[in-house]
Amino acid sequence: MKLVSISGTNGSGKTTLTRELISRLWKEGKQSAVIVNEDGTIDYEPEFIQDKDLWVTYLRGG
């Protein structure tokens, strides 16, 4: 398991980049999980989670 941190201020595109990387890795046969702070405003919708076999967890204040 490789741990990848994507930092930045709100609105800098952390979730957008993470989603793009997860999708590309999935096409390469790689499974991903994500820990996202609860301040995040863009959710990982159920279809995306199911389609990418993604494991998502939220961390308060993290």
Partner: protein
């Protein structure tokens, strides 16, 4: 990042490692967390389980850079420091002159600065190579 928060993060990482063990675990920290804090927290988990740490990527909001640089410079520099990759996000919305100004402002930073646009696909191959 406080001690209890770091402990919670490590507990979550270890849980994922033991139950899911994905190829990649992405972490999107709060905007107030510095890269050094993330490094320190994630290293704690290595006492119990093995995983590979990094790369750590810091995004700089391209269009918002002037305001961020003016008002939140310590935060920005704290996120850049210790990062493996620094990328200007929404680079497709930044003019060549504005991008040059960002590079100029970050001239002392020991990183190459990548222009990134998820919308246009710009810079994503470089990030994928870093993840490989």
């Amino acid at each position: 990042m406080g001690c209890s928060l770091a402990t919670s993060l490590v507990a979550r990482i270890k849980e994922i490692k033991r139950t899911v063990n994905p190829d990649y675990l992405f972490i999107e920290p709060s905007e107030m967390v510095l890269t050094q804090e993330m490094l320190d927290a994630t290293r704690m988990g290595l006492r119990d389980v093995f995983y590979e740490i990094g790369p750590f990527i810091t995004l700089i909001d391209g269009p918002a850079f002037p305001e961020t640089w003016e008002e939140r410079r310590p935060l920005l520099m704290g996120q850049i420091h210790k990062a493996d990759l620094v990328a200007v996000s929404r680079a497709d919305l930044v003019s060549g002159d504005a991008f040059s100004q960002i590079l100029g402002a970050l001239d002392g930073v020991p990183h190459s600065i990548l222009g990134l646009s998820a919308e246009k696909g710009q810079g994503l191959e470089e990030v994928m190579r870093l993840l490989a």
